[in-house]
Amino acid sequence: MGGLTWNYVLKRVGMWFLTIWLGTTIIFIVPRLAPGDPVAAMIGRMTAQSGYIENAAQIIEAWRARFGLDQPWHVQYLRYIGNSLRFDLGYSLANFPSRVEDMVMQALPWTVGLLLVSTLISFLVGNTIGALMAWERTPGWIRNLLPVSLTFTSIPFFMLGILLIYVFAFWLRWLPASGAFGRGLTAGFNWPFIASVIQHAILPATAIVISSMGFWALGMRGMMITTAGEDYMILAQAKGLKPSRIFWMYGVRNSILPQVTALALSLGGIVGGAVLVEYIFAYPGVGYLLYQGIVTSDYTLIQGIVFMLVFTTATLVLILDLLYPLIDPRITYERG
């Protein structure tokens, strides 16, 4: 099918490795650049909070063993890479003895769910609006949607989130302001739980969808206009094909390709925005967990989460890259 050659797959997987390695290395280097011994400073801070003194010895042990701080740098580095690849992310400092990977795995499904649903909806809706924008047969009332959707493009996700909370949770009281599901509900495949999950997800997802829709619409409109000038559009028209077929199979089908590339490139930004949205909504995903880690100076948690974010983003991009030849028979070896 298409152009999915081994060469291409290998290149993409190679990029996947490189991206993860690069992110992980930066995460590794930063603490060692920060002044002072992080462990001692952290213990000092925790002592001041007088929370976990009895665990201090175990924590120090765990930390040192984890990072091998008594070992030379390159050994620490290799151990760190090895651990990360096995998803062995260490103990959480603030919630000892919880392990970071357990906390992350509990929160990750919420983040991935929110991300995937919002990104998918905004991509589909935004591109559809943009395509209709550029087509002369679109009725006028749809045409006017573009400026409306564009006005929200410049508002970052989390600001729109704040506004949505204020309007819908505080003033109108239609939707909840935080959390992922109501209290007193048992998790599982029962309808009350699922309904509550959906209800709680509406506002965060809406914040992301409305904010990013305009970006896709604008890009798609530009691409449709470019596609309209291509020669195959002339022949399509001369063949007497139905206008709807020309719109979808010739216009949209060719314009969507650069948009998919753009999606892969913007995933990093979308993930960052989702982190902030989770913080605003106290949505129990990794973003919110990250915020808590910041507040409690839980460095292992922060590093673990950021590693997972880098990993998740790189994996999503890899999936997109592997899907790309299936929609464009002329595979390109470079991204864009």
Binding site: E230, Y232, A238, L241, R253, I327
Partner: protein, 336 residues
Amino acid sequence: MSLKMEHRLGPAQQAANGREITLEVKNLKVYYSTPTGDVRAVDDVSFHVYKGEILGLVGESGCGKTTTAMAILRMVQPPGRIVSGQVLLDGVDLVKLNESQLRQVRWNTLALIPQGAMNSLNPVMRIHTQIAEAIVTHEGKQPKDKLKQRILDLLTMVGLPSRVYDMYPHELSGGMKQRVCIAMAIALHPSLIIADEPTSALDVVVQRVVGQTLLDVKKRLDVSMILIGHDMGLQAQLVDRIAVMYAGHMVEVAPVRAIFDEPLHPYTQLLIESIPSIKERKPLKLTEGLTHDLRNPPPGCIFQERCPKVMEVCRMERPQLRPIRPEHYVACYLYE
């Protein structure tokens, strides 16, 4: 041969000499509106195409050949518009048809082989899909195996191997793509095929193959063709009659031998003389004089500024296309 009976738009039209006429263009005017006035791309042009013949439409770049073709297809893009005139295909005036009627007429009775097939095929659709959609759009759903056989027959007719059936356009060479376009054009056995410079973008060897294919197709299907081009040498090998255009006016129409043996209009004479010859050495002939402004044509003959044989009467009134010999029309006061 699995091609069905020829699609005709109306009853057979007879000319005065008893031959059947497929296309008759009467007093066609196509203007482009610009902020500083109308550009007269096609200014009162009349000609006809007999059944089963290839009419060559020649002239230098910008003389209005492609605009005429687009006007026949009713695919003139704004800011161009058909001001007046008739385009009678099998007796039916195409100018008067509305959008949905046009869509039915297109490809069924009137097909296009576009200029630059490089980009005329949809890059994301396989060859057989693109040919099939032309058939299915106009003839309704077809049984799969019959359709496949039909497409394979078409490919064979234009000299393409059957593996082309499953390929994507980017896997084909320029000549092969052009022949795919020819196969598509004859798929519904139309009354008239317009070939807009089908060999311009190809090298000489491939030109010959494509030209030969066109001749084969014409012979086998008895389909009328308009072959647009500016390469006189190539036209000489392929067409039956030649129509010469200059700056939106038809200046001479004659059988191909007559044009080459005895060009009557001064412009045609210049064209013929400028063809490089292997046999004799010719000095490069340069014309004196300026071209006119297409927005503000001078009264009288359109060629007056560059004509080496211009007379007083030429500047006063526009000469009409008149038959000087049987089947040999000229618009020039030298012969009145």
